[in-house]
Amino acid sequence: MSLQSGGVVTMPSRKNGHGEKRPVDDRSLPAALAADLDGAFEWMVLSYQNRLYGFALRLAGQPQDAEDITQDTFVHAYRALMAYPGERVRDLALRPWLYRIALNVFRNRGRGGRLRVISLDHAGHESALGIEEQDAAVLPEQALEEAELKRTLGALVAALPARYRVPVVLRHVQDLGYREIASILRQPIGTVKGNVHRGVRLLQQAVNAQQRPALHVHGRRRR
């Protein structure tokens, strides 16, 4: 055994089975995964976790479910990548593939379950729902209004029917193109465009319905 006599034993640093620690961009990731799954997988998680978590958060409406969905997505992805032949991994369109897994995980979890009640009064949950701190340049009163609006919008997105919510989140929150969304949802591109448009309209109507009474209470003039 080691020649160190008791006390703190330091493990010598050594080469490990994970390959080099270097950033891999999205485009070269499939090839990297095909060559060394364990080495590149960590990079896949790191480069997609924020996007997929953001997606899951908007689908599930609350952080704990979103984290579970994100975890499950990556674990499913890992198992699939292990089983796929190298050629298939190399040719994989990773981003829509991962979003589709996340969507399926979400749908399977929801199966047989009830709709979650999302409160419009999210005191204390703002940061958890991804509502960031306000720009310092904005006046406090406006900032408050903006924050309220965001909170309202977040709750309304969660309450939107899934057939609108999913494409709206993919298009506007995740900033994906219609063609990619169509491939994730396996719907014609026209259907996707229509649902995104209708979904955003519904959100706008609902936001304005929420806003009006609030403005009255504060005694503000409406123009």
Binding site: M1, S2, L3, Q4, G6, V8, V9, T10, M11, P12, S13, R14, K15, N16, G17, H18, K21, D38, F41, E42, V45, Q49, N50, L52, Y53, G54, R58, P63, E67, T70, Q71, F74, V75, Y78, R79, G130, I131, E132, V138, E145, E146, L149, K150, L153, G154, V157, V168, H172, V173, Q174, D175, V200, R201, L203, Q204, V207, N208, R220, R222, R223
Partner: protein, 268 residues
């Protein structure tokens, strides 16, 4: 903010706010949890061993690291430095793992404990696997391991590998001793090595007395077989029939053959 927005929230405002909702950071725990579940990352917990409490790291492939006499923070730091993987602490280790660990340490049944030895060379793995074959309550010299794995001249290298054993106690590097019969060194000190061997039923005092007198083998004059003194068959030789030898050559000259279980001829 424009006047228009106060009256009616426009589509562009909705779109901007939706876009801003995308700026979220995933919890830092995701990577570690995913890697652990996928078999790449590790979790760790505490376990009592014969020489004190140890931290034990494991993943889906098996046990990956064991350390004693360190704080949790030191363990995590050392683990990350050596393996370059994330690690997280669990309150309770999985029940099946605890069962396997306990059985492994008791040595009462054949152990089904698996180890994650990725990142080690073929030679390093061969040394550790061979050490794992040494039964509880017995010891073997470094040179024995070197010969058994077909690298008879790599005695020093065997010592180095065992000194860096990532899973001490569980892979019993403490059962490997100096070729002159002395207990030799150990990561947690020679005293800890004696203690863990004694806990496994090795008569350390007798072994060291034999080493001092230069006697390395026990023979039985009824079977004409000779063994390492700690071999389970050597321990059954009664005082009346026990013959002591200094070397393989001496035993061979006396007409004794090496034991097939402990294979003493492999350590000259």
């Amino acid at each position: 903010m424009d006047r228009h927005r106060r009256a009616l929230v426009g589509l562009h405002v909705i779109a901007r706010m939706l876009r801003e909702m995308g700026n979220v950071r995933a919890p830092a725990t995701i990577l570690a949890a995913v890697l652990e579940r996928a078999g790449g990352g590790d979790a760790y917990g505490r376990l009592e061993t014969p020489i004190g409490a140890a931290f034990i790291a494991y993943n889906a492939r098996g046990v990956s690291a064991v350390m004693l006499r360190v704080s949790a923070a030191e363990f995590e730091r050392a683990f990350r430095a050596r393996f370059a993987r994330p690690i997280r602490r669990v309150k309770e280790m999985p029940g099946s793992l605890v069962t396997h660990l306990t059985r492994h340490l008791q040595g009462t049944r054949r152990s089904a404990l698996r180890f994650d030895l990725r990142g080690l060379s073929e030679f390093e793995r061969a040394v550790l696997r061979k050490a794992l074959e040494i039964p509880r309550g017995e010891v073997r010299p470094y040179a024995w391991i070197a010969r058994e794995i077909g690298r008879p001249r790599a005695v020093r290298a065997v010592g180095t590998v065992l000194a860096q054993n990532p899973v001490p106690v569980l892979i019993p590097c403490h059962r490997v001793v100096r070729s002159d019969g002395h207990v030799g060194n150990y990561g947690y000190g020679p005293e800890a090595k004696r203690a863990v061997l004694a806990a496994e039923g090795v008569n350390v005092k007798t072994l060291e007395a034999l080493a001092r007198s230069g006697l390395h083998y026990y023979g039985s004059d009824t079977t004409r077989i000779y063994c390492f003194p700690s071999c389970r068959y050597a321990r059954r030789i009664s005082d009346k029939h026990r013959v002591l030898f200094h070397s393989n050559a001496e035993a061979a000259a006396a007409g004794y053959r090496p034991c097939a279980a402990c294979r003493p001829a492999r350590a000259s």
